[in-house]
Amino acid sequence: MNKVLSLAKIEGKLALRSIDGVLFGIGMPLGVLLLTTMIAGNKQAGNASYTFLDSSFSSLLAVGICATAFMGIPLTICDYRDKKILKHFFVTPASPGHLIATQVVVAMVTAIISAGLVALVSVVFLGYRMRGSWGLLIASYFLVMIAMYSLGLLIASVCKNMKIANLVCSLVYFPMLFLSGAVIPFEIFPEGMQKVASILPLTQGVQLLKSVSLNQPVGNPQFVLILLGVITVVGFGLAAKLFRWE
């Protein structure tokens, strides 16, 4: 674990230096939070019994997860594979687990800072009060996180080169970001689109966070719990099996 942390410290600095993670993972959800609140904060979200702020709070928590899972982790690992940095790690005593854990730690820290800031700003500056339990919310948050990270690692293992990785990440990241309800309130989508968007794993994750924070079932929480559990196990398993140094 110590070895992972000492590597993560340096890799974290590198992530900070490349700005886009900070911008998309931390800056964007805060921006959207402020914007949504300014435009429609206290209005009812669609036909629901809660406001747009209520809805946005929990869904914006997922933006940091989405950015690190579908951009940060797979792009960094594929970039390292492309640049033969992974090959160089092969000729050291480092294990794939060690390298993957390092990237996951960096991603987790980014996502947690993002969610922490969203929560802080909502509660302190926007007067947000959550109906559900914080403990449950945090637990669900981490479940959504590891499920999405397992998918991100799977993408990293499967993509042969940076070009493919860029394409796949864009194809996964943008729909997840905009259709899952993480950024744009799900409630304002037409019903047909809601059905299509429900296929996305992150949509289910966002629904779970919403159910917990509103203390009322949105979608089908039991089903989501099982789904996320299965995604996590299958995702990590396949990612480890398909991992390639070059």
């Binding site: 590198l14 033969k84 060690h98």
Partner: protein, 240 residues
Amino acid sequence: MNPAIEAKQVTKEIGGKKIVNQLSFTINKGEVFGLLGPNGAGKTTTIETLLGIKRPDQGSTKILGLDPLKRRREVFERVGVQLQSSSYQNNIRVGELCREISSLYKEPRDYQELLNLFKLERFEAQPVEKLSGGEKQKLSIVLALIPDPEIIFLDELTTGLDTEARRNVWQTLLKLKETQLTIFLTTHYMEEAEILCDRLFLIKRGNMVAEGTVSELLTESCQNNLEDAYLWYVGEDEDE
């Protein structure tokens, strides 16, 4: 005593083509071994198969008596490697790269000491990309020495360097040779092979064409200098 490196009938095919064909050699501890051959002869593939980065289709390799495919982590605790045209993470600084590599080993050498040894200490806070070609190659030797290895592998370490930088690197390698380090290197420069290597192994299209000390190769080929001898062994045949 185990030899430092052992290759037995190593064959590697890529895309149905034999890139390395039935190569066998044994390298003793403390020896500097040079693998020579024209571009595309299979030098890098030989190194990568030797190290277990690529799995041999036939034959086996042993490093310090261990199979690198099965005991990779043990092997690389004791072996340093510089791969051809290494690149590093974007925006990483020299000191960070050294710390990162050091963190992977149980008992790494003090990288500051190594940077001093190679006169790179003043670059510690600089981005790696800003280093000149020669400085980068020296840094890659520093990284290969961080595990305090018993063997180092250097794949075309001096390719692309200007004459001065190349000689500079040779001086460093000569100093390392005095410490009884086993060195496996590939190069295009006959002068380099002559100055540094105890024994040479020439390959052409994946096949061995000659093996021996510089003077043995000169005698066998009846040439006056290594470059002529090299061409005599690996040069394209007239009728091809």
